[in-house]
């Protein structure tokens, strides 16, 4: 299986990273019959508790054993305790107690990931960058899409995700704070591209493959102007070579939808919780463009 491994990154928080990962992942599995793995790398574990009831998640990741934390802990201690089949959760359990979306798999995160950043510097390059790729690379081949949900920073865990990925997807809220962050992000990724180059196959170069706009509101000038500034900025980043020509601003923009927020409390992606909502419809359309982009139908 030719898998697409994509790191969802933005070092600004609250831009809809997790919502994008969870809802694109669920739509790919449900409507496009793709086999999808979501890897939660954020100590806040938001993808995990969105797709799992908190009691089940706590029990599953107890002491970090069956979570992405174990991968980094193993690397730090030179052990091999991580067991992929044991750690991965298959499907989403609905309120009936039965599993839906059997093609959607999740490697949950644990709060213990917080401890990793303090110690990970003990490992030297390139070993530190390769942690995730070495542990999961072979398993990725069993999926059509692997979506890496990164923490809102560009520290070591995120770097391991960028190293393991074929490309980066940047969720974005149309405002100036996001805009200023995007330019720094593009510079940082360009730096990583140079740093990682000796250790990566030639075809795999860290780059921004797509930008996705969420929390969009139609009213007034505010968001239209902000999206225009984003487009101008992307055009400038293309011109300076910081962004590859293939980097795309994906449409449609995800509009603000209360049903999406509500679906987090139901521990279901919006396509299952409120399939008639504008949130579900926007994610369906966006996922279509996502497939077109990553499967070369652009």
């Amino acid at each position: 299986m030719s898998s697409k491994v994509l790191a969802f990154i933005n070092f600004k928080g609250g831009v809809g990273k997790t919502a994008t990962v969870v809802n694109i992942g669920a739509t790919l599995a449900k409507l496009h019959e793709k086999k999808v793995l979501i890897v939660d790398l954020d100590p806040q574990s938001n993808s995990s508790v969105w797709l799992m009831r908190p009691d089940r998640w706590r029990e599953h990741v107890s002491k970090g054993r069956r979570s992405s934390f174990q991968i980094y802990d193993d690397a730090l201690h030179g052990k091999a305790r991580f067991d992929f089949d044991e750690a991965v959760v298959k499907g989403v359990v609905t309120w009936t107690g039965f599993t839906d979306l059997p093609r959607l798999h999740l490697l949950p995160a644990a709060v213990e990931l917080l401890r990793i950043e303090d110690r990970i510097h003990e490992l030297r390059a390139p070993v530190v960058y390769q942690i995730l790729d070495s542990a999961l690379g072979l398993h990725f081949k069993g999926y059509d899409y692997v979506l890496l949900d990164c923490p809102p920073n560009l520290y070591s865990t995120t770097k391991t995700a960028i190293f393991a990925a074929d490309g980066c997807v940047v969720p974005y809220v149309p405002d100036y704070l996001s805009l200023s962050g995007l330019m720094v992000l593009a510079e940082q990724i360009a730096e990583m591209r140079e740093k990682f180059a000796p250790y990566l196959p030639a075809r795999r170069k860290p780059n921004i493959a797509a930008v996705i706009v969420s929390h969009y509101r139609q009213a007034g000038n505010v968001f239209r102007l902000a999206v225009n500034e984003l487009e101008l900025s992307l055009s400038q980043l293309h011109a300076t070579g910081l962004l590859s020509d293939r980097a795309t601003l994906l449409q449609p923009y995800i509009r603000h939808c209360v049903r999406v927020a509500e679906s987090t409390s139901e521990h279901l992606p919006v396509i299952l919780y409120a399939p008639g909502s504008i949130g579900a419809q926007d994610y369906c359309d966006l996922t279509q463009r996502f497939v077109d982009l990553f499967e070369g139908k652009k």
Partner: protein, 211 residues
């Protein structure tokens, strides 16, 4: 629990029951068995109806019809067109929910589920609305940024060369909202304000001279 777990459990239960069937009896066990049999009847009914509505195991066609994309993009006209193309049949229903049901039935009758799925996926892909902004969008965005970098006098000169229609087009492409009542003077002020802001925000604003 998932359905595979349930099926293993039922298989194991069946094996145990078959092994001991000749030697078990008693009122409590009998009552419990009767309740289980009733529950199994109900479950089988639900399962049969689920599978029947998705004949020959073709689940995706129905999933797509009932999906959020189906809700947003499907019209009677589109379904009529699809059915004619795939199965050479005419859709009779006049309202959308009935037309969706009829579409599924007739596609199944013709045994063209794969073609039906292909048609719906293609239709959804085409229907996704992407705002392109027209052929000259990129040019007008670059012009906008250039205007944002100009000093007041230069800006006034540049604007003076443009028609009201050109200014409206530039404002529209660059996200500035205006109405039919917006005057040229007001539109010019808006372009000035937001072009300067854009130049500043994306870091290409002219740095004031030190001298």
């Amino acid at each position: 629990m998932n359905y595979l777990d349930l099926s293993s459990r039922l298989l194991q239960l069946g094996e145990r029951l078959a092994k001991h069937a000749g030697k078990i009896d008693g009122e409590t066990l009998g009552r419990s068995a009767r309740r289980l049999a009733a529950q199994l009847d109900a479950f089988e009914e639900h399962l049969d109806s689920y599978l029947a509505s998705r004949k020959s195991g073709e689940l995706l066609l129905e999933t797509l019809i009932r999906s959020p994309a189906g809700k947003r993009h499907l019209t009677i006209e589109l379904l009529k067109h699809g059915l004619r193309r795939i199965a050479g049949k005419r859709l009779k229903s006049e309202d959308l929910p009935a037309a969706k049901r009829e579409f599924i039935e007739l596609i199944h009758e013709a045994g063209k589920q794969d073609k039906g799925v292909e048609f719906l996926q293609g239709a959804f892909a085409q229907a996704v609305h992407v705002e392109t902004g027209g052929k000259d969008k990129l040019h007008l965005q670059h012009e906008f940024i250039r205007l944002g970098q100009l000093a007041d006098e230069e800006f006034a000169q540049e604007i003076g060369k443009r028609t009201f229609g050109e200014l409206r087009r530039m404002a529209g492409v660059n996200g500035i909202k205006f109405t039919d009542k917006t005057t040229k003077r007001r539109l010019t002020a808006l372009i000035r304000r937001y072009a300067q802001r854009a130049a500043l925000n994306i870091g290409v604003a002219r740095v004031p001279s030190q001298t």
